[in-house]
């Protein structure tokens, strides 16, 4: 049997009852996530990311539309979906504080149906992998936020899920703990083909660093979907490079660079030179039709007697993409859409 899509939604809407008017958290979401993908839902608070995760993890019914996980319908085939998924949320306080780390993981392993011995074995394995060995006999209530989130992550892997939902998993973590957790998600995914991750986040860097594809979500709708590179291309079709040279090129100078094949424009941008740079240095901003034209630019610069001191590709961020798409920044413009985020 060919592999089903890991996640598929068609026209999924979710409307919450509220006063004075109902709140539309999702307004017709179509999404295909392939098995083995690390897929990101990127959007500000209240965008509808968590609502979509709740629907896919069988906690919420869609108001209309269809949603499938591993080919199983979220309305009618919940039992089968629950056997192949798990979920880790940021700031999660699940479990019982009086249990030790080891006991807590074992307890959850029993909820996921692991045989008792296998539960202990898997618990010990995940404790070691996630770096909680020193805390294994520590009571859960005494863990730091970072340790706690590592524990939650270990819990999420107990049943070897095929689709792992990560809902703002690094929320509230310090830089080091967040980095650790991100690395764990990458390692876990790489360990077996077909493992799929759906990450919701409002951290651009996180989405960019981790995800194969990203859907930018706002007000319950997917505004754009693609690889990080494809999304950036939406707001900047050309490749822009900043070159720092020891002196102006000879034989036509900057204009000559601008006439090379594949070069759309070349302009002087000395205002971008670092303070204290030698006075005869120059900075160029070169726009290329695509990256392959860079070689001829670098060669031409050398042929014209200039030494290339620095080269930086200037790329739009995902925030630029978001601003371009919705005409505003990534701040918390509106409150939560009636869901736990």
């Amino acid at each position: 049997m060919p592999d089903e899509l890991a996640i598929q939604t068609r026209g999924v809407t979710r409307v919450y009852k509220a006063k004075p008017d109902p709140v539309t958290a999702l307004g017709g979401v179509d999404l295909d996530v392939e098995p083995g993908e690390y897929f990101g839902l990127l959007g500000p608070n209240g965008a509808g990311k968590t609502t979509l995760i709740k629907i896919l993890t069988t906690l919420l019914l869609p108001t209309s539309g269809t949603a499938k996980v591993a080919g199983f319908d979220v309305v009618n085939e919940t039992a089968k979906i629950r056997r192949v998924i798990n979920m880790v949320s940021g700031g999660e306080q699940s479990g019982y504080g009086l249990l030790t780390v080891r006991e807590q993981l074992w307890m959850f392993s029993q909820f996921y149906g692991l045989p008792t011995r296998e539960g202990w074995r898997r618990t010990d394995e995940l404790i070691e992998i996630t770096g909680l060995t020193e805390q294994r006999q520590q009571k859960v209530r005494s863990l730091s936020t970072g340790q706690r989130q590592k524990l939650n992550f270990a819990r999420g892997l107990l049943n070897d899920p095929w689709v792992l939902f990560l809902d703002e998993p690094t929320l509230g973590l310090d830089v080091a703990a967040a980095r650790d957790l991100r690395e764990h998600t990458i390692s876990w995914k790489a360990a077996a083909p077909g493992r799929t991750l759906l990450l919701t986040t409002h951290y651009m860097v996180e989405a960019e660093q981790l995800c194969d594809r990203i859907a930018i979500v706002d007000r319950g709708k997917i505004l754009a979907l693609g690889t990080p590179e494809e999304l950036r291309r939406r707001v900047q079709a050309e490749s822009i490079f900043r070159l720092e040279l020891d002196q102006l090129p000879r034989n036509g100078g900057i204009a000559g660079i601008g006439e090379l094949p594949g070069v759309l424009s070349a302009v002087r941008a000395d205002e971008e030179l670092a303070d204290g740079a030698a006075s005869d240095r120059v900075a160029l901003k070169v726009a290329l039709a695509d990256d392959s034209a860079l070689t001829s630019v670098v060669t031409a610069v050398a042929e014209r007697g200039s030494l290339l001191i620095g080269l930086v590709k200037s790329e739009p961020s995902l925030e630029d993409v978001f601003v371009e798409l919705v005409g505003r920044g990534f701040g918390d413009e509106r409150s939560d859409d009636g869901e736990a985020s």
């Binding site: 968590t50 919420l60 699940s94 009086l98 307890m107 909820f111 149906g113 892997l157 689709v163």
Partner: protein
Amino acid sequence: MSGYRGTPATNAREAAEWSTGRVLWSNLRAVIGRAYPRVIGLTREPSWIFFEIALPFLAVSAFVFVYRALDAPEEFIGFVVLGGAVTSFWLNVVWMMAAQFYWEKDQGNLELYFTAPMHLMSILAGMAIGGLVMTSSRALAVIGIGSILYGVTYSIDQPFLLAGVFLLTMIPLYGMGMLFASLFLLWGREAYHLAELLQEPIYFLGGVNFPLVALPGAVVGVVMATLPLGVGLDAMRQLAFAGSGVEGVLPVGVEIAILAAMGVIFLVGARVALRYLEHLARREGRLTLKWQ
């Protein structure tokens, strides 16, 4: 650093196919898993000895002294001690069964229970068994200390029947707790007040501190039809003080039949309520809305 392992199944659809046996075993493991923190809690939180034995024992003692002051029949002292012990189970049902889903939701456990591959009845059963074990130690302590301190003498002709009636009483009692767990969750933040609201009326109607026959006939009828605590306690008193002229509301055999019927009704009711709860929770977002 990695160390993560691959998965044995070749795709997710294959991994989702479980045999009936695997489903049953998984649910049984979930029962054990959920009972575990309650049982282990006995050793982790020694303060329970004071709060759950010493303090309630004061309430039992108050009634003992009232009966002594009134020169009441000596078996009344035993009634109160036995009532005090059984009360522990009622408190456990109200606070650690009925209100539990509400607290679990607050902690974020309920979402994980819903998304785990097991039936919520397994979680409730685990809570009940764990609670039963935990509370049995308290009940035994109340009976032991009370009996020694106040010189209660028991007259037990049929110890196995008495043990059987005790266990039979626990089924509808905890079944009632399972039913309430769903209902309390539906009623949201009022769960705490509902638990408080139920506490004293049940003490009274259950005949915890006096023989149930003392209540007016119509009230006794209501108790016999609805409260496993009252029915079970009345039967246990007849069996624990046999031959001492203790009068029960109904013959023990009839009360056993009532308890059995109640067990079926409350367990089925809990199952239906849970199914309804899950549907409602998914339809209205009650598991995810913070203000519910």
